[in-house]
Amino acid sequence: MKIPRVESLEKQQLTLGYIPLTDCAPFAVAKEKGFFEEQGLEVTLSREHSWASIRDKVSLGVHDGAQMLASMPVAARLGVAGPRLDMVTAFVLDLNGNAITLSNRLYEAVVATDPDAAFSALAATQALNLVIRANAQNKRPKLRFGVVFPVSTQNYELRYWLGCGGTNPDLDIEIVVIPPPDMVDHLKSGDIDGYCVGEPWNTVAVRAGLGHVVATKYELWNNSPEKVFAVAKRWADEHPETHKAVLRALMKACAWLDQSENRLVAAEILTERGYIDQGLETVALSLCGISQRHPDRPPEDAPDFHVFNRYSANFPWLNQAEWYIAEMYRWGQLRNPVSISSIAEQVYLPTFYREVASEIGAPCPAINRKTEGNLSPQMLQNFAPHLGPNQFIDGKRFDVGKVLGYLEQHELSQANIRELRQSNETIG
């Protein structure tokens, strides 16, 4: 293994931003276990209160880099729902980790409509659609759902789930943005009827007896990217060796986190050293692969609720960036036609990741894109740990090079496919 010399680093003292969520664990572990230090880095972790603040601070150079939602650097490059900024990522911090929680009142209405909704995320969204239609007929106010940021993974996940049940998220319900730590209070006050958020905020609501988890991110799209380590392109260009050193430390942290015996220790680090203001038991549940979905039922095994390293989790797959761009078109956030593959290649950097992985002898995919929706857990039993299930809740496939074909499969879509074909001649 090649260990680069500290003198080669363009910068040693770094400030990295993070949001206090369970999946900030790679940053916390890299810091507390000395993985940053091993790379010659003195890292200060800056706890942030909003994704917009993280975006601004990274873009303006106040911070060197940060944890970001996997969709954020892509949206920033396109100027979707915010300023156009050149961000890049060469590292996915984790897969899965989010869930959709409904208030007790709404959950009861959904399960009364279809008892299967208590056990199936697909049945739940279909039943919810019937509840929404009945509400509209009775002239009741629209249901309100919370997400954490306009271009968040959670926004796209909530919309995907609603769309599967026939609900138009732009017409049939109202979506509002609420900071993750405030979600539970808003649910309690009745200001919102449900939300999609990262842990620990689903577990907190369930344990407080305020709501029920009806779908996890894993169920919506198995092993899809959640957070990334992102930097400004300008920073990446000026600090290539430092960038690599951060990635090496994070790779080690993520590998450490995916050893099951370390998960409880990670929960202790997060809760006892001030990364998350919640109790150990709450944070440890999902980290240790246990999902508490209902206040009145025992927790369930969910071994892949958080994935930090296995299934090639840290690799920045270009097709996953393309999926987010497709969703931006689908929901009308992006209207002007762009070359989808080219934007993905500008923002997600698989080649840079591969270079770092090869330096330290870490396994790394040889291809930059893969088909999604074609591998079920049953197909992969006893198979290589580098491949994980990748099914969508609605059984659709997202084939390599077929972004527009994938978009065409969705009935609820604002994408102008004809216009997009002109800018994307090479993809179907």
Binding site: S50, S53, R55, S59, L60, R84, P179, D191
Partner: protein, 152 residues
């Protein structure tokens, strides 16, 4: 209702604490920008912003209302938009405004690039100068107490 192009610019503060709020109030009054005297929480942003239609929003860079604010303004292009992407002098100024003063700025189309640059620079200068003045006065007061104590 859309405001007249000749109407004075109006600014709203979100999550800006007491001392900085007072400094900004003085500054804005001096340059003829009207401060909307409303306390805004994240809950009220959806309703209030469209009602008030400010041309400028000063928001604490660490406010928990930031992401809600982003959602409201991204849904209504006529409202002030975040000022982040910039090169050269403006980027340096924005960095100081966020890093040193702890403020992020949202501006509407009525605010020209020249006005924006001037406004940011004077905000940094004003907040910084008052901060230095306050420190010096506090130091003077401490020294005076020490001298009085020494004389007795």
């Amino acid at each position: 209702m859309k405001r007249s192009a000749k109407a004075p610019l109006r600014a709203l503060m979100v999550g800006v604490d007491g001392p900085r709020s007072e400094k900004l109030f003085q500054l804005l009054a001096n340059v003829g920008i009207e401060l909307i005297p409303r306390s805004v929480s994240e809950d009220s942003l959806y309703k209030l912003l469209q009602e008030l239609q400010p041309e400028l929003i000063f928001v604490d860079v660490n406010s928990t209302a930031r992401d809600t604010l982003e959602h409201v303004v991204s849904s209504h292009p006529a409202l002030p938009q975040p000022v982040v992407s910039a090169d050269g002098d403006l980027r340096i100024s924005l960095r100081r405004l966020a890093g040193d003063i702890g403020i992020s700025l949202y501006v509407s189309e009525r605010v020209s690039p020249c006005l924006l640059q001037a406004l940011i620079d004077i905000t940094i200068s004003h907040c910084h100068s008052i901060g230095v003045l306050e420190q010096e006065l506090a130091l003077l007061a401490d020294n005076s107490e020490i001298m009085v104590a020494a004389l007795h």
